[in-house]
């Protein structure tokens, strides 16, 4: 893996954070400190995030769960530099890839071209691209659909192309916004394995948003529970289980149950607030 390390995108100092998780070479870290984000001004402003702090160690895998509308996508947008926080600092080390909640593929390009564009934009020489595209499409099991256009695919397949495109960026930090939401359970399980394999192989830092608590426990080192509007970190759970895990492991189910209870509390608290 070749990585070009770039300076920090945020304003915090780039002092090294402890590396956890395997494969730390060239990996990045995420730091969010007292970040607030409001949309609009004055009376009608929506406070999506309120003084949220969060840290993902270099090479770590953190999952973010929280009720719908609690600001998860907003946070990822801030981390990807697509938006600026109203208050506080975000810092992401190295190059960042963001996989949106929707596939956001370019409709005028074929599946292969969509993936290839990601390679082109990070200046991979033209000759090397086709082989890399093939490999990436193989990873998401879409090699046979290379020449189709996004509108010819099912929602789940589009999502997989987006995953391939995100992997193509070969970023130090991978932000994923409910990447497997549109998939059937079987495909999702297979892609969990793939994601875990790539994470072990490449050692990137991953922040993974999901509604599925089991999925969070299956994949992450740590699961953060966000409270609802305004979003804050309500609780964090370390996941101590050995890898590889399976989503149906009793350990996974057990911890997922515990986290779900906590998440429900948050949702209920939010519901009675209003």
């Amino acid at each position: 893996m070749t990585t070009v390390s770039e300076p920090f995108q945020g304003t915090s100092s780039p002092d090294g954070s402890p590396a956890s998780g395997p494969g730390t070479t060239g990996a990045g870290a995420i730091r969010v400190q007292g970040v607030s984000k409001a949309f609009g001004r004055g009376e009608g402003a929506v406070v999506a995030l309120d003084r949220i702090s969060l840290e993902v160690p270099t090479g770590g895998f953190v999952a973010l769960v929280g009720a719908s509308g609690c600001g998860k996508s907003t946070l990822l947008n801030l981390l990807a530099g697509l938006d600026t926080p109203t208050r506080g600092d975000v810092a992401v080390e190295g190059r960042t890839a963001l996989m949106f909640q929707e596939a956001a593929l370019f409709p005028w390009l074929t599946v292969a071209q969509n993936v290839s564009l990601a390679l082109k934009l990070r200046k991979v020489p033209k000759r090397q691209r086709p082989a890399m595209v093939d490999e990436l499409l193989d990873t998401v099991h879409l090699a046979d659909f290379a020449d189709k256009r996004p509108h010819e695919l099912s929602g789940g397949m589009r999502q997989r192309v987006a995953i391939a495109r995100a992997f193509a960026q070969d970023a130090d930090t991978l932000l994923m916004d409910e990447p497997f939401g549109a998939l059937d359970a079987m495909t999702r399980d297979l892609l969990h394995d793939e994601l875990e394999r790539l994470w072990v192989e490449r050692g990137f830092t991953c922040l993974f948003v999901t509604h599925n608590v089991r999925e969070a426990v299956r994949l992450a080192d740590r699961v953060e529970v966000l409270s609802s509007r305004p979003g804050r970190v309500a609780a964090g759970f370390d996941v101590p289980f050995d890898r590889p895990r399976r989503i149906e492991d009793p350990d996974v189910s057990g911890l997922a149950g515990e986290i779900t209870v906590r998440l429900r509390e948050e949702v209920r608290r939010h519901a009675t607030d209003h």
Binding site: L98, E102, A118, R197
Partner: protein, 294 residues
Amino acid sequence: MPPITEADEHQLDQELSGLDALELAPAPRAEWASRIWAATWPKLLAVAIALLLWQLVVWSGWKKPWQLPPPGPVFRALWDGLQNGTIWRGIGLTLRRAVYGYSLALVIGVAVGLLVARSRVLRSGVGSMITGLMTMPSIAWFPLAIVLLGGNESAIMFVVVLGAAPAIANGLIAGIDNVPPILVRAGRVLGARGTNLWRHVILPAAMPTFATGLKQGWAFAWRSLLAGELIVIVRGTPSLGAQLSNARDLREMELLIAIMIVILVIGILADSLVFGRIERYVRKRFGLVDAAGS
């Protein structure tokens, strides 16, 4: 991680392609010839009905035959005109002007469109002026054009460009304005900035609306051109417009209607064979048309 063997991978692939096969229903494919026939016969029927109505009006005796000739003699005049080459010469001349004027309008329209779309200051001022220009009937430009440029081909080209360029520019600007923000964000996340963002994301995403602008620009150009050829008769250039005007002066009603038919047919062909095709191609690439329909 358990080592994933190649056999496992293969099995995964098979399972997944099984699932994918379920997800993708096969597209129904109509027979080629029957599809063309299905597309053609309603048009043929419409033409037949129009001819019949025309003949009925003539038979009704509403106008004298020298005012409104029946279809038969008109098509004979058309045939003669095509045979002796005068109509072909007219078509050649008018089409050359059309291509020349439209190309000029394309260059200017794209340049202005890009400038306006990229600059916020220009947007508010020039943007609304462009829409204003589009509402201006092109014929209203001729007096000015003739005074400025003389009663020659330049005056005609001036009006053609003024007719078509705003529509083309407007298509480009609207296309750029309506690029889905999520695609721009996706481009930025992939590392496309500045020129790269324009080249790889914004301009391609603007294509469907731009294609509509191209088509609209053609309609404006064609109308302005014929209006111009009727108003500005350039000596020694028997364009379609000049021939039309000439036929009226000589009261050759058969020829007059024959030339009108030629003008109509050229307009329809250009629209469906060139601009409609571009538009359909772009829309199809974007998945904006139902693959099974039309």
